[in-house]
Symmetry: C2
Subunit: 602 residues, 2 copies
């Protein structure tokens, strides 16, 4: 492609609408343009990258025999009502009414449409398993579209669905997809992790994994173990019992606990001994005055306490009842884990009034001692020797609160988010680190969730009717493009990985007015195109500075500068990723470029 | 692909929803399925054909340097209001309101979006011309979706747009596209014509062409000249003056005209002599009683008259005024031509009451003689020596009505549809034939229609601001698939042309239980795949009858039957288009198949 004829308009400055590095560079490089909030046009450069992603996805799907279909965006609302998702998606659904008054959903995913299709096409066990995929546009009425293509309202997805005879079949389909996804994201040059994740609205009871591209602007947090490679979404990440204990003992030495007083009033609350081998002669509870310090931060700053020595007591409303959840002051409650423990999705932190009604004291001074509510105690709290907690009385806290003695440990569990430095719950050797990331893919075991609601059944070999066992597998194609941009955006532009670059190589003729340069550029351009490479030739009559700046923004992985030594058929070859530059003869350059492409493409 | 694993469900009977041959075969063959009226899912077989079409379109666009972009489906309604099309599209637009109450259009085409994009990317003459295309989903709320993919509500289109400096530039872009379209439709194996056409809602003042695939179920009619190749949409097709004259003279000999009487009362209407060299001693007008025969058909059947001897007088309301249009009894008025002549789009046939109000007589007996309305006389009427016409009096007609003598010939023009047998208006040698056809592509010269409304301007070399000169170019991709299906649907299925077939070759092992057959089938399958061909292997344990029937419905252009002679490595090769069958050895078969594909693919 000759740049003089190419629809490419780079921007000198980062536009104010850009809210991340990658987004800014996609705009500056002339890859995308916003038409409306969360709705983008792809210029030729962006479309090229998108096509490369699409073709990688297609290759990897078809390698495993997944068959391409195409399902409509317009889907009858009735279908979504049947599955129950018309309600659960709520305002996130884009809907419209046709001229005859019939309501349609613009599909954000296609579980309903594909289940309905397969149920009408397949009736016998002999035709299963079936695995299909499509690449197409999805719609979602995001409340706050953000980060360009990352959280948009119209976006491109690859969605795949598997239909199996049995759970074992689903396991095979699921594993096949997991492997394909690993290949796809690897080929796209991403730093990513497959993490255990929560199922969200699509649901499903079996396992599910999120693929997370590591990035500071990501809206997900993942906990990673550097020792065994364990990775989990923060929402799901287990915490190991031992980690908290270890931390508690470590911290213990550093904490100066004032000897407790006035503990007699709480004797009634004493419980059978905790399993810890704690010193037996711990001092009793001591109440102390803490006016206006109802938060952990205030306690820390006013009294010089350490957050990890404080027991935080939070009141939740769960299924209409109040419960207290106890976590360490340096930990955070994980609502999802509490909900799962209680077997409800209807859970939220109680507001001030509800806290007072349930505990008899204002928020900030609630404590476990004497509290007449179910107490869900996080492992890390149960492992504390003693701690500081609200006294259940305005402006007072207790020192020397001892779990098991001063409040019951009948409901101990994992109720908190993992934190940096936690012991890995899997290998129990490494420590967890937390990372922000962008969700680029998601695989779910759906089981019979949709097949039962939409009657997707088959006859087994005995003639009995059974429900198909489903899985679904998504990749955010446009989001993946954005994630790659985030990971590879530098000062001068995006350094595209080889398999995704819009062009394999960018040729820059420093001065097109110089006959030797323009002739050599043309010659190299033709030779490289003959090799089947995609080549962009900057044949514009622009100043060299403009050309180099644009080249950075375009971000081809290989750049050839045809300059002063053109007369002797020598050019400067640059590997953009490594930054290495060298002068090569024409033939050497062609060879080097072709080899590079062959070595870096699967 | 192994058929045992392929998502393919053929139907024995034509489903009742099928309203054409091609539609029926696409359903029976398991290519597409309806999700809602005018909304279809593509099964793997259909998706494969679609992909082949898409790749032909891409190749031919990119061969000419047209650059791929991707514009969103969701477009702010304001943009459509700016262009004025929000109103003109009316109920055909699919619209929705987002959660913030903002209104969007689901694009049926992308003139607004692309004009707005290019106007922000291009500001200098040095960056023009620009030619872009995309392949994507479009939405149109058709009142009556029909013929499967032919008239749907969600469909796939390739739309391209050109932006030029000048009318000459537009001419070049337009010609480039015309040629690309010819290549595309030729590669798709279509019988088609590029015809002059009307601009429809997209508008534009310059030329425009429709590409019509000939098919009996088509909703368009085209007039073709077998002599010079001239082709025009019936709405636009000119009629030659000479043709009508010739016909009138020919018919003359066969008509027995009763000598006219009582012509005196119309002497006042006589006009300066018509330019024809007609006999001077024609008899005068004769009124005759024609009770209850107010239509051409009734006059023909009751009085044995010939339609071509009758002058039909139709009253139209045009821009609030009444006019009379005169055409021969065997001709039909072309509203578009009348409207163009009068310079208005607001034209419709008057209803009974309006006819009586304007002419003073009931519909069916209106005639030109003495009629006090503007008379638009079609060439073919002006060329008649004499004819029969309504007498302007209930139950009476005139014989011997002479154009120019009995009514004025001041406004003579081309006001009718072309008919079969008309002289070609271009070469004036061939005769026109009429054909039904399906519109598969359309190219328009838009000029400044959108660039002026959406301010798409550039600075020319003198620094003056000028409007970009646009063209737009559409191909109905899913419609093209349907048109190919219509043209190639036979008793047993669709015989796909080579470039579009879902598979290059279909291998049928008659009995998979026969070890020699299954082994040979497998061997051939692997060998052909090694050649890079797309191969479907029927490895199912089905009766041969079922396999052959399914093979017909799948419609691969080459079929290989592995049967009785498998032990001696001989197979039956069939060219499905020619029907020729022959026994070949394994090596010969591979060679024959590979050659066939190489010879039939561009």
């Amino acid at each position: 492609m000759r740049q003089s004829e190419y629809l490419l308009n780079t921007l000198r400055e980062r536009p104010s609408e850009a809210d991340s590095e990658g987004h800014g560079m996609l705009l500056r490089g002339g890859y995308i343009r916003q038409l409306a909030a969360g709705i983008y046009s792809y210029l030729p450069l962006g479309r090229r990258v998108l096509r490369r992603i699409e073709s990688i996805v297609r290759e990897e799907m078809e390698r495993d025999g997944v068959q391409e279909v195409m399902l409509p965006s317009l889907q009858p609302a009735e279908l979504w009502m049947e599955s129950g998702r018309f309600e659960t998606y709520g305002n996130n659904l884009m809907t419209l009414t046709d001229r005859h008054g019939r309501e349609f959903v613009l599909g954000p995913t296609h579980e309903e449409a594909v289940t309905s299709l397969i149920s009408s096409e397949v009736s016998s066990y002999r035709k299963l398993p079936v695995r299909v995929y499509q690449i197409g546009t999805k719609f979602r009425d995001e409340k706050r579209p953000r980060f360009g293509l990352l959280r948009g309202r119209e976006f491109i997805m690859k969605d795949a669905y598997s239909f199996d005879l049995s759970e074992e079949g689903l396991d095979r389909s699921y594993r096949t997809m997991l492997e394909a996804y690993n290949r796809i994201f690897t080929r796209c040059g991403l730093r990513f992790r497959a993490v255990e994740a929560d199922a969200g609205t699509i649901g499903g009871e079996g396992g599910n994994h999120e693929f997370i591209a590591l990035s500071a602007i990501g809206e997900d947090t993942v906990a990673l173990c550097g020792h065994c490679g364990h990775a989990a979404n923060l929402e799901q990440a287990e915490t190991a019992v031992g980690s908290a204990k270890a931390a508690a003992f470590e911290n213990d030495a550093a904490v100066s606990v004032t000897p407790p007083r006035n503990c007699d009033q709480h004797a009634a609350n004493n419980q059978p001994a905790n399993n810890q081998s704690a010193p037996k002669d711990l001092p009793p509870l001591e109440k102390f005055n803490t006016p206006g310090t109802g938060t952990i931060d205030q306690l820390v700053s006013v009294y010089g306490l350490k957050p990890e020595d404080i027991i935080k007591t939070l009141i939740y409303r769960a299924g209409g009842e109040s419960v207290a959840v106890l976590v360490r002051g340096d930990h955070e409650v994980n609502d999802l884990k509490v909900g799962k423990y209680l077997g409800t999705l209807d859970i939220e932190l109680a507001d001030g009034g509800a806290v007072e009604a349930a505990s008899g004291v204002i928020s900030g001074y609630v404590g476990p001692v004497g509290l007449e509510l179910p107490l869900l105690v996080d492992h890390a709290v149960a492992a504390m020797l003693e701690g500081i907690a609200g006294a259940g009385e305005r402006d007072f806290h207790f020192r020397g609160v001892r779990p098991g003695r001063d409040f019951p440990l009948t409901q101990v569990g994992d109720f908190r988010n993992a934190t940096e430095g936690d012991l890995c719950p899997r290998c129990r050797e490494g420590q967890l680190t937390l990372h922000r990331g962008i969700e680029i893919g998601h695989v779910f075991k759906l089981g019979t969730r949709y097949s039962s609601k939409l009657s997707a059944t088959y006859l087994d070999s005995t003639g009995a009717q059974r429900e198909m066992i489903m899985g679904c597998y998504g990749i955010g194609v446009s989001r993946l493009l954005a994630a790659v941009a985030e990971q590879n955006a530098g000062e001068g532009g995006i350094a595209w990985p080889d398999e995704l670059a819009p062009f394999d190589v960018h040729l820059i003729a420093v001065s097109m007015k110089d006959g030797a340069q323009s002739a050599l550029a043309e010659k190299l351009y033709v030779k490289l195109k003959e090799q089947g490479l995609s080549v962009l030739l900057d044949d514009r009559e622009e100043r060299p500075g403009v050309k180099f700046k644009d080249s950075g923004l375009i971000g081809a992985p290989q750049v050839v500068v045809i300059g002063r030594e053109a007369a002797s058929e020598r050019v400067e070859y640059e590997n953009r990723i490594s930054g290495a530059k060298e002068m090569l003869g024409l033939g050497e350059a062609v060879l080097r470029i072709t080899e590079h492409v062959n070595n870096n493409r699967i």
